[in-house]
């Protein structure tokens, strides 16, 4: 009993890593599908965007980097598809890091092409601006104070999409996709001071931290992690990277639970043989 307990309590970490690898890789290779249940925070985000009249301008903050792009990019794909389907106007910007903008603009170009949208008329790339809180507050006064031109040097007054956009009064919604702390700044400055609606998309581990803001009504919706992206894809009836990742995610969660049980059985067997 003690020997079995010892074996179960001391599984080599390399064996654990191998099991994780197999459980993630095999569902993707075999193309296993999973059904996704939509939760309330994502449904709220979807319903708010769905309620916006066509032609409304939404601003999307691309505040995640290469490390989290596998988790966050599916959200951006789903949001852009929904926005373009509803004929909303989309602007992207980055506050956290200059390298975030190319990640977002690649997705924006690809989805815009799918829906036949034109740059400068249906979407715009404002680029990266350092300063974080200062930028968010400045947009509340006049967006041209911080973004006089788009990412390619074209003055905002020359672009049909931004000609009449001056501050948050002209912006129907701000969506921040963040792996850092920018989402809190958007809530603290844009939503609290200027009253602009905010939806946030964050990594799964940051999801719990953001719930208080959803509960208090400071954000209109919350999309957390790959599951959040999968739920949004389900709502827009366009399964993509999020839905595809769900079988692998399910597998890993179940594996971890099994490992915890095995570890505890080993621990109890050892405890019993000691007494």
């Amino acid at each position: 009993m003690n020997k079995l307990g010892k074996i179960l309590s001391n599984i080599n970490r390399q064996v654990i890593y191998l099991l994780v690898f197999l459980v993630v890789a095999l569902p993707m290779i075999l193309g296993i599908k999973a059904k996704v249940t939509v939760t309330e925070p994502v449904r709220k985000a979807y319903e708010f965007i769905d309620s916006l009249p066509p032609g409304s301008f939404i601003l999307i903050g691309i505040d995640y980097g290469p490390s989290t792009f596998p988790e966050m990019n599916p959200m951006l794909y789903a949001l852009l598809r929904h926005a373009f389907k509803k004929n909303l106007k989309v602007g992207i910007l980055a506050l956290q890091n200059a390298v975030n903008i190319p990640i977002g603009s690649q997705v924006l170009r690809a989805v815009a092409k799918e829906y036949g949208k034109k740059y400068g008329i249906d979407y715009v790339n404002l680029g990266y601006k350092p300063g974080w809180d200062a930028v968010i507050v400045s947009i509340g006064r006049e967006i041209r104070d911080v973004f006089p031109e788009d990412a390619f040097g074209t003055p905002l007054d020359s672009l049909p999409i931004t000609r009449n956009i001056h501050n948050y009064d002209d912006i129907a919604l701000v969506i921040d996709l963040a792996s850092g702390g920018t989402w809190a700044s958007w809530i603290q400055f844009a939503q609290a001071r200027f009253g602009v609606p905010v939806i946030i998309g964050v990594t799964a581990v940051m999801g719990p931290e953001s719930y208080p803001y959803l509960q208090s009504g400071q954000i209109k919706g919350l999309i957390a992690g790959l599951k959040g992206a999968a739920e949004y894809e389900t709502l827009i009836h366009h399964p993509y990277l999020g839905v595809r990742g769900m079988p692998a995610q399910s597998g890993v969660h179940i594996l971890i639970i099994l490992l915890i049980f095995v570890g505890n059985i080993g621990y109890l067997l050892q405890k019993r043989s000691k007494t």
Partner: protein, 209 residues
């Protein structure tokens, strides 16, 4: 004076920042914004100090023949990225232009490397959970039960086991989890206020000799 002047600068800056929060009238109203801009400028310049320290450190290691391979690779990588970045700006007007060599390094080196590091978390979570989640006490058992329910509720498999699992997992995240987090956050906020007051009043000076 070496201690007094920095303390005076920090105390006065703090005082103006607090005044700017309560007084919208000029000249206090836009002060917070201006200070944030100044801070961005200072951190930008500080980055140069950091880069100099990094390169100097590794150059010294190469001279001492310590970890030559790692240090050489770092300096080589830095130079290649810098040179290609400058070249991309000159040829394409922007280092992040889609066809630039800088974007090539970004897309095919930086992005996969960063994603790989983040992916390590999946493996480490498995080994950490296996090692740490033992039912040693009542509290540890409750933690384990909550973790299992939330893990199942956050994936489609959980909904297939029991249709109420996602809702139960959400309830755990929104009620007990949030209550605990808010308690910790209130404590942290008070601790931050305490620390800030100690720094403003000069009781604590970690940035000074």
């Amino acid at each position: 004076m070496r201690k007094e002047i920095p303390f005076l600068i920090s105390a006065l800056t703090a005082m103006f920042a607090v005044l700017a929060f309560f007084i919208p009238h000029k000249p206090f109203g836009g002060l917070q914004q201006k200070m944030l801009v100044w801070y961005s400028v200072v951190t930008g310049v500080a980055m140069l100090i950091g880069v100099e320290s990094l390169l100097n450190n590794h150059y010294k290691r190469i001279r001492r023949r310590e970890n030559i391979l790692y240090s050489s690779f770092l300096i080589f990588g830095f130079l290649i990225t810098f040179v290609l970045g400058v070249y991309s700006i000159r040829k394409y007007g922007d280092a992040f232009a889609p066809n630039s060599p800088f974007m090539f390094i970004f897309n095919y080196a930086e992005v996969p490397l960063q994603s790989t590091m983040f992916a390590l978390l999946a493996f480490f979570i498995a080994s950490a959970a296996y090692r740490a989640m033992k039912i040693r006490t009542v509290e540890a058992s409750l933690l384990l039960a909550a973790a299992v329910i939330v893990m199942l509720g956050r994936v489609p498999a959980g909904a297939q086991l029991w249709s109420g699992m996602p809702k139960f997992a959400e309830w755990i995240m929104e009620i007990p989890n949030l209550a605990a987090q808010r308690g910790i956050l209130i404590g942290v906020a008070l601790g931050s206020v305490g620390m800030s007051l100690r720094i403003i009043l000069g009781i604590e000076k970690p940035y000074l000799r």
